[in-house]
Amino acid sequence: MDLGSFLQYLISGLTIGSTYGLTALGFTIIFNATRVINFAQGEFVMMGGMLSVFFLSAMGAGLFPAIVLAVTCTTLAGVVMERLVIRPVQGANVINIILITIGVSIFIRGLVMLFLGKDTFALPPFMGTESLNFFGATIIPQSLWILTITMFVLVGLRIFFNKTIFGKAMLACSFEQKAAHLVGISVDRMVMLSFAISALVGSIGGVILAPITMTSYDVGILLGLKGFAACILGGLGNPFGAAAGGLIIGVLEALGAGYISSAFKDAFAFIILLAILFVKPSGIFGKAEIERV
């Protein structure tokens, strides 16, 4: 096999995988705070892209202000969601909360479809469309943006969780809510913060991906699915495992399409995922078994 093709598969896998990873990060942050999988996570990603397009075209804002507005709105949507439908049912059966999040995702999708339309939209790339040569493979500037911003988000989160008081408090909540409460941490506020951060991270993913893959009201479903797979693969509860899981799935798909069969590439990725789960149920980077629900 030639190096150029291999690198090409790798680049496209890492690019797409980054957004799976960012989606997976969102899942993990909310899971750690609430023990719930938020099925509306994919919709945060969708909102990031769709709202950017909306602010850019309909409101005539510049690209950068449009993106900031979109990310802010999505983050607020995350907070509103927590306040309106998650906090009132605290302590409910996990499957019920999961269904509520499914309801929220359907609701958001319906709203976006109604107000922003059913079409697919493209967001202009942040900088240039001319692709660069890289050892026989080509890479577009937006791919570099995606990889760089993903790295920044990861580093930022790491600093947040390890160095800031809020981050430490959130970590404490994820280990033991009662104890966290006893030492004076407001669990409610931390849960809300987790929704805000998840929505923020998800919408950033949506924004950076939209110039490459385009966006429409229903892109959240597939991204949510892949993101969920990524965070289970990486070991549920481990944010960096989740990001790595996303990259692995992205690369597996690209290599599958390149070397095996483009028709069965998704099946290929999922078969490997199942095999890993059966051998190591806690995921690649998972430590202890997660045994709630």
Partner: protein, 380 residues
């Protein structure tokens, strides 16, 4: 225990209430994918039908009877299409049907109409809908065979030898792929690569890299938005200069918007609706197309697409058949649809017969190239 009683009772009340009686109007039922993945097709179709219903009724209806069009949205879901068809036939008792929007949904509802002996005019492309001929089923869009033939004739004229195909894994792509795999060798080309992409896939560089390694003279891509736009962009990213043919599935402005500069130089077969301004003034379709475009754009304040034209043709063919047979009985509509000759529609000039329930041929397409973000007819 009471809970079951109460809930079933509630259902009972709702289900037995309300019954629809046929009035003194002509009822035509429509199953269209107004929402869901195929909404880019279904929405202009619905709009066109709503517009025509008003126009026809404003000018006295069909044979003095009021035209009533009942439209159900199947949300691009097969199950809902079948339920909607059932509802049109049994509850609304329509005299003729139009739909579905997609090939899959049409294939799913065909048996309902055949069983009920009501004619159905589909707005979907797949050849399987009318081949083999089902006495009750018709369709208005050109078949994939016509589009493929048009593309391959163009490729032949350029002297291309080796062809790669890249098709989407849904009903549209599958139908195209079947015809491509048949006609590419038949017309003397070598099929050097046969790649697939998913309808919601967001990166096709892997498939294009594989194709590049086979160094074909041309690539033919069969899909509907957004996949082909991604492919056009990926082709630009990979700096592939192999000519890329698209299908008529992306004959909308939206595709050019999505693909941006990557759309430049792409070739595709188009119905004349998309390039109405450019066709010669003496072409029989010209006046009709320009009227339809201005009426549609005025009413809906949105650019027209070829897809709305499929609905225009379906309804006007049924109207023609009713007037021809002077009867709105389903059987008479069916019989007279088969007799329509030389009917000028948006998609082409229809010549229907008991053996041909589509009535178009490849001359209903022109080849176009995308230049300066617009289509240009290429002379052959």
């Amino acid at each position: 225990m009471k809970k079951i009683l109460m809930s079933l009772l509630a259902m009972f009340v709702v289900f037995t209430a309300g019954n629809v009686y046929a009035g003194d109007s002509i009822k035509i039922g429509v199953v269209a994918s107004v929402t869901g993945p195929a909404s880019f097709l279904g929405e202009p179709e619905r709009n066109t039908l709503v517009m025509l219903e008003d126009q026809i009724n404003a000018s006295g209806g069909i044979m003095g009877k009021k035209l009533e069009i009942i439209i159900y949205d199947d949300e691009t879901e097969v199950n809902k299409a079948v339920l909607a068809a059932d509802r049109l036939i049994r509850r609304d008792r329509v005299q003729a049907g139009i739909g579905g929007t997609t090939s899959g949904n049409t294939l799913a509802i065909m048996s309902n109409f055949t069983r009920a002996q009501i004619p159905l005019v589909s707005m979907a492309a797949a050849e399987r809908i009318v081949n083999p001929v089902n006495p009750w089923i018709f369709k208005t869009p050109q078949s994939d065979r016509h589009a493929v033939t048009r593309i391959l004739k163009h490729a032949k004229a350029q002297g291309y030898q080796n062809v790669a195909i890249l098709t989407v894994s849904d009903g549209f792509g599958q139908a195209g792929r079947e015809v491509l795999r048949e006609l590419v060798p038949e017309m003397g080309f070598n099929l050097v690569a046969d790649e697939i992409f998913g309808p919601r896939d967001t990166d096709m560089t892997s498939q294009l890299t594989r194709i590049r390694n086979q160094s074909p003279d041309a690539i033919i891509c069969w899909g509907t938005n957004p996949g082909p736009a991604v492919i056009a962009r990926n082709r630009q990213q990979l700096r592939l200069d192999i000519p890329l043919y698209m299908s008529h599935g992306v004959a909308s402005r939206r595709f050019i918007e999505l693909a941006g500069s990557a759309a430049e130089g792409l070739l595709l077969p188009l119905g004349r609706l998309a390039v109405a301004e450019q066709i010669p003034d003496d072409h029989p379709q010209k006046g009709l197309l320009l009227d339809y475009i201005s009426q549609y754009e005025e009413r809906f304040n949105a650019p027209v697409s070829s897809f709305g034209g499929y609905a225009w043709d379906a309804l006007m063919l049924i109207k023609e058949a009713i007037e021809k047979g002077e009867s709105a009985e389903p059987k008479s509509i069916r019989d007279n649809l088969e007799k329509i000759q030389g009917f000028v529609g948006t998609g082409g000039i229809f010549n229907l017969s008991p053996e041909d329930h589509n009535g178009l041929d490849e001359s209903s397409f022109v080849m176009a190239v995308i230049e300066d973000q617009d289509w240009k007819i290429v002379s052959e």
